[in-house]
Symmetry: C2
Amino acid sequence: MKVLNVPEATVNRLSVYSRFLDQLDKSGVITVSSGEIANGVGVSPAQVRKDLAYFGEFGTRGVGYNVKDLAHHILKILGLTHPWPVVLVGAGNLGTALCAYRGFRNRGFNIVGVFDNDLLKIGKRIQDLEVLPVERVPAVVAEHGVRIGIIAVPQSATQEVADLLVKSGVEALLTFGPAVVQVPEKVIVRNVDLSIKLEVLTFYLSFRKIHSGPWTKDDV
Amino acid sequence: MKVLNVPEATVNRLSVYSRFLDQLDKSGVITVSSGEIANGVGVSPAQVRKDLAYFGEFGTRGVGYNVKDLAHHILKILGLTHPWPVVLVGAGNLGTALCAYRGFRNRGFNIVGVFDNDLLKIGKRIQDLEVLPVERVPAVVAEHGVRIGIIAVPQSATQEVADLLVKSGVEALLTFGPAVVQVPEKVIVRNVDLSIKLEVLTFYLSFRKIHSGPWTKDDV
DNA sequence: GACTGTGAAGCCATTCACAGCT
DNA sequence: AGCTGTGAATGGCTTCACAGTC
């Protein structure tokens, strides 16, 4: 899974830098320094330079980085110089929202199939797609050469859907919610858990209110 | 921001443990070991014990942890022993999905107000709530003693909404998308970025396909 | 025998500080 | 003078390994 000893945190930040650079480029900015990027995305300048240094030398000493060049280099690193067809399983509220999410299309992710097993949802149109029965997953994956699947189904169905996607040839999964899925080692899985971040907030808020000194065992 | 030198990664995992323990409890399991928790959520047993050790001693050597007890202790640590009223700004696709998301309610997050500035959305009903104009935010926040706000609006409006929430007395924000918001130091902000994780997937998929040896500068 | 709790060790990521280039 | 690129130092999280308890 590890590539080149690049910390995954670095990959995360590259995605953020990339979108920040897009903004700058649209605003007509030609050159940018690590400090300006750092400021714009909330990290340290050294962090920006170190992150980029994993992949090469993109800047000019004494000057900074050319915005267009750097943007392109990062897109290339992230594999985003060509569009990615993606399938989405789960046409509930979350699935529908994901389907409509501009942030995906902007970055080259094309949802080429939406699936559900609920007869009430099958046939419904979301954006310009018709919700198909999950049985059609293998065909659509094969037809479009899909390598990435997004799973937005109830926790109880997550594993089953993951199995189907993997069997269909999908190589990377994005899941939602707390479920942990079992997949072959070659399959890459990442998870987005909406509750975790909210609970981080309550953790800090609670502490702030209740505790003024250090936490002792008696507090818990 | 730092509390007790507890790594934020630990807080994240506690949220996951917590929901895993809920499951176990519902299945009637009485006792669980760090190894079983570790297995269930995909971390190491030592990690589980270390995470818990930040807050006290909850287990019995040679035996393990009482599921109900541990579940309750973790809820207390996370500040989830009482419900949290929450406001949600942005009634688009994502906002609507968040509003309907069971995972929030299950964990004690009650959305007590949904707001938008789009006249087409104001007045619409989502779940059992009417979408209100953003001007109503301060009143609702005050009325319910809301400390947490969720921002699900387009990037260009994020800062403005954050300002409004902070001015209304909200102390913690959850934002979506790549925007970085400026807030007073006392306000806690966390962000969920749906694109980042997808781009991590493309990063690994691209590398896998294109590179077999180490990455050299010429590749980028 | 089984499992927790924890100091110590190891590892990884971030920051520092400066040499090198423009 | 200004900014990048980078080895070295720092700091922090995770794993190890074992003493302690049941």
